[in-house]
Structure formats: C-alpha cells, structure tokens
C-alpha cells in the first residue's frame, strides 16, 4: 500500500469518528451566551475607561506644564473622497501563460463586448484601446477593426487605416476569456487624407470601433491634435509584460494603510487601503488587480472590488478601498500583530503597505 493510500485510509477510518454531543445545541447556546456576556462586560469596562480619560485627561492637561505633556501620535490624514466598499472575492494571481497565443474561437459579438472602450494610455503618438470581454464565453476578434470617426456635425471623417506595418505588441487573432482584455492600437504615423486640419478640436470627434455587430464608443484622453491621421493595428491580446493588462506592473503605484491602532480579539478588522498613482498617465484597474492581505500568519488572496471602483486610477490621483479581515482569522492571538497588504501580479508582488494593529482580549 502506498503512503497516499495509507493516509487516506487512516484519516477516513470510521473509527476516528467521535461520538456526537447529546446536548449539542444546549452547550453551544450556553457558550454563545457566555461570550456575549463577556463582550458586554468588556464594552462596559471600555466605556468606563473612556469616561475616565475624558474627565481625567483634560483636568490633567489644565494643571500640567506643557513640557510634561505626553508625546502624541501624529494624526492620520483625514480620509477624503469615497471608499470603494469591500467585497470578499477570492483572487487568482494572473499567470504570464494567460497571454500565450490561443486557438481561434467563436467570433466575438455585441453580447461579448462592452458598449464603450477606454484609451488606457496617453502617449501623444499612440493610443492603446482596451476592450474587456463582458460576455460569459471565450471569443476571438480577428483582423482589423473598423473605425468610424465623425465630426461635431455628424459627418464621417475619412481616416487612413489600417496600416499593415503597424505591428501590435501582442498576439493576433485575439482570443480572450470573460474578463480578459483584447486591445487595438491606434498610431498617428500616416498621412492625412481628410479635410480637417491640425487645429481641429479633438473633442469634436467621435470615435467608434466596429467589431462584427458591435459598435463600441471610445472614450478617454484624446490626442491634443486629433487632426493627425490614424492607423490601426489588428486586434491583439497583449504580450506578457506589455499592453494595458500590465500597465499596473509598470505604474509604480504606491499603497498606504489606514487601520485602527487596537482591536479586540475575534472582532472584524476594518481598514482602508489607498492606492496612489504617482505617474502622469491613468492606470487601468483591468484586469482587476489581485491582492494579498496578511494579518499575522493568516493570508488571503482576494480581488479588488473593481465592479464598484473607477475603471482607472487617474494620474497623480488615488483610489481608496475598504478592506476587511474577519475576526476568525486571528483567534487566540493578542499583542501587536503585523497587517500587510500587497498587490500580486504575474511578475510578483508590487504596491504594498504594512501597519501594526494591537489585538487585545
């Protein structure tokens, strides 16, 4: 018998079963009530301590010389702006293999594609437009997209595209799973064959990508001089380390944690993580970043709540995310414990922060 078989046999042996409790519900009820009483007592003690502090400390301050004041912790910056609520959704660290060439699947249709797509970079000579597969199946976009451009009067603007010399930084045809990204690149390398000039206001143009029966409006920061001709790449899946899916890795995001100093054992730990983009370009939160949160020895790998977050972190801006660690994860531990938060990417951990939270009985 192999060790595998022996282990399975030993652990699942019926003789390891323990007799059930005849008074199971009663003993659990009694335990729950005991715990609730303990909580109330602790809360009462905490309230008494707070009252003592409120009454005692100001009195002390009035009478004490300023040089005798105890050192105080620096105040945390006041939170500002909305906080993206926490959702407990397990995450999977993206694998570089996700972007390998894949067989051609069913053509993507309007049901698979979003109604709008975003320019995920602001290179003055190049746009990268990312579409996230919103359907529930794997599909493929092949060849070149059609691009419809209209001026403010709704007149079509003729663009010179595609340009076969424009090699996309990825695999074509582009086969992607639900939630994954297919991209197209627009460059301003060709010559203009239209009547509009370099002074044409960029916001006066409407860009629409046509993919099969889907019409996808393009939004985002446009070129300052939109009169320049446009050349298109084929649809592509970005190579590992390239394209909008990995912009996160290169963005140099920073993270900071705002957490309570103290928490009672068994209580849920609520804290806030602020992701800051120090760069000059927005950082797309797609695919949805995966993070690891650790409190002492316990780790969880979860996905950010991208469903309720903005699609990107603006240049020099921040987005705040509420985080939760259930009390069950640090049962029995007291004292100062390390809280760590870290984005995990295919290439390894990136933006992260740590804090210390003291767990008391």
């Amino acid at each position: 018998m192999t060790l595998d078989e022996l282990l399975r046999e030993t652990l699942t042996d019926e003789r390891r079963a323990l007799p059930g409790w005849p008074d199971a519900t009663d003993r659990v009820h009694a335990g729950v009530i005991r715990r609730r009483r303990r909580r109330v007592r602790l809360a009462g003690a905490g309230a008494a301590a707070a009252v003592a502090l409120l009454v005692g400390v100001p009195a002390l301050l009035v009478h004490a010389p300023s040089s005798a004041l105890p050192p105080t912790r620096p105040a945390r910056p006041a939170p500002s702006g909305p906080v993206v609520p926490f959702v407990h959704q397990p995450g999977v660290v993206p694998s570089p293999a996700d972007a390998l060439p894949r067989p051609i699947g069913q053509p993507c249709t309007a049901a698979d594609l979003p109604p709008t797509a975003t320019v995920v970079n602001t290179d003055p000579r190049r746009w990268v437009i990312a579409l996230h597969i919103v359907g529930d199946r794997t599909c493929t976009l092949s060849g070149y997209p059609d691009l419809s451009v209209q001026d403010t009067a709704g007149r079509p603007v003729t663009m010179q595209y595609p340009n076969p010399l424009l090699a996309p930084p990825g695999y074509s045809p582009a086969t992607a799973d639900p939630g994954q990204v297919i991209e197209v690149q627009l460059d301003n390398l060709g010559s203009c064959d239209t009547g509009f000039s370099r002074q044409t206001p960029p916001l006066g143009l409407t860009f629409t990508l046509l993919a099969g029966d889907a019409r996808i409006a393009v939004t985002g920061p446009f070129w300052p001089a939109a009169c320049r001709p446009i050349v298109l790449s084929q649809w592509f899946r970005p190579w590992p380390g390239r394209g909008s899916e990995t912009i996160l890795a290169d963005a140099g995001l920073t993270a900071s944690i705002a957490a309570p100093d103290t928490i009672r054992a068994g209580e849920q730990l609520d804290y806030v993580v602020t992701l800051t983009n120090p760069g000059d370009r927005p950082v797309a939160l797609q695919p949805c970043p995966v993070f690891r949160q650790e409190f002492d020895e316990v780790q969880e790998l979860l996905a950010l709540n991208c469903g309720q977050a903005p699609g990107a972190i603006p240049a020099h801006g921040s987005v705040r995310f509420a985080m939760v660690i259930p009390g069950q994860t640090f049962l029995g531990k007291t004292g100062p414990l390390d809280l760590r938060w870290q984005i995990e990417e295919a290439g390894g951990p990136s933006a992260g922060a740590t804090a210390q939270v003291t767990v008391t009985r």
């Binding site: 390891r16 323990l18 005991r34 715990r35 020895e297 049962l331």
Partner: protein
Amino acid sequence: MAGWQAPPAFDEFVRTRHADLLRFAHVLCGDRYLAGDLVQDALERTGLAWRRVLRQDDPEGYVRRAILNAFLNSRRARRREHLVDAVPEVGRADREPRDEQLWQQLAALPRQQRAVLVLRYYLDFSEAQIADQLGCSVGTVKSTAARAMTKLRRSLSPSTVDGGTR
C-alpha cells in the same frame, strides 16, 4: 443582558453537522478533547455571526475554517499537544498496527503540515482549495505536503508503506 435567541437554522446546523465537524477536528489535531474544544469554540463564534455566515452560503466551510485557524494559531492547542511513546488506543484489538503507527507519526508533524495532509486526504481538497483555506500559495501547499510526506516516509517502517508514493 438580554438572552440570546438561537436562529432555528443555526440549531439545525449544530444538530446535524457537529458530529462531522468533531471528526474533522479530531483527524486535524489528533486529540479528542482538543477536538471538542475546537468545535465548541468555532460553533460559538459561528452562532454570534450567524447572519454574516449565512450570507457567505457555506456555513460548514466557515466553521471548518474557524477550526483550522484556531488549531493553527491557538496556544492552548500547543500546550495540549504532547507526544508520548505509546498512544492509549494502541492496545485496541481492532486497530491495524500500520494505521496506529501512521496516526502517531501524523501527531508528530508540525501543525501546518498535518493540516495540509488532512485537507488533502480527509477532505479531498485540491491544492488550490488547500491554499485558499490556509491563505497561502499553491507552491507553499506543495512544498509543505512534500516535506510532510518525506518525514512520514522516513519515520514509517518499510513494511508499513511501499515506496511508490506521489
């Protein structure tokens, strides 16, 4: 303080599932008394958070995780875990010797290693599921399992186990 009214669904859950949870805790910690403590503790916490637990749609998974975390973290478990030359059950006639030898060697493993083996061979969890339960990477699960298997293989007599394991 107002008394606590147990939700009927929680009572039903305790009545029907506590025996299986006891068994899981027993194979996890190897000590029937500690197993009882772990299950009692986990069920009490679950009772306090029952609404939230129900929202997660897997109350048994929640309790199992609570048992696992308490087992991995609690000092009480560490105090109670003491190895002896012979386990009390070894004298029972219906026990196969190789089972007892393995049971004893399992009790001697570090708790993390034992937990990985129990999740793998008792609950039939995949490596990814184990990683999720323990909050670690799949690579950590693999290396922990490999270390545990090596240790068991070394400590078990050759007649007990064949060489051809994974």
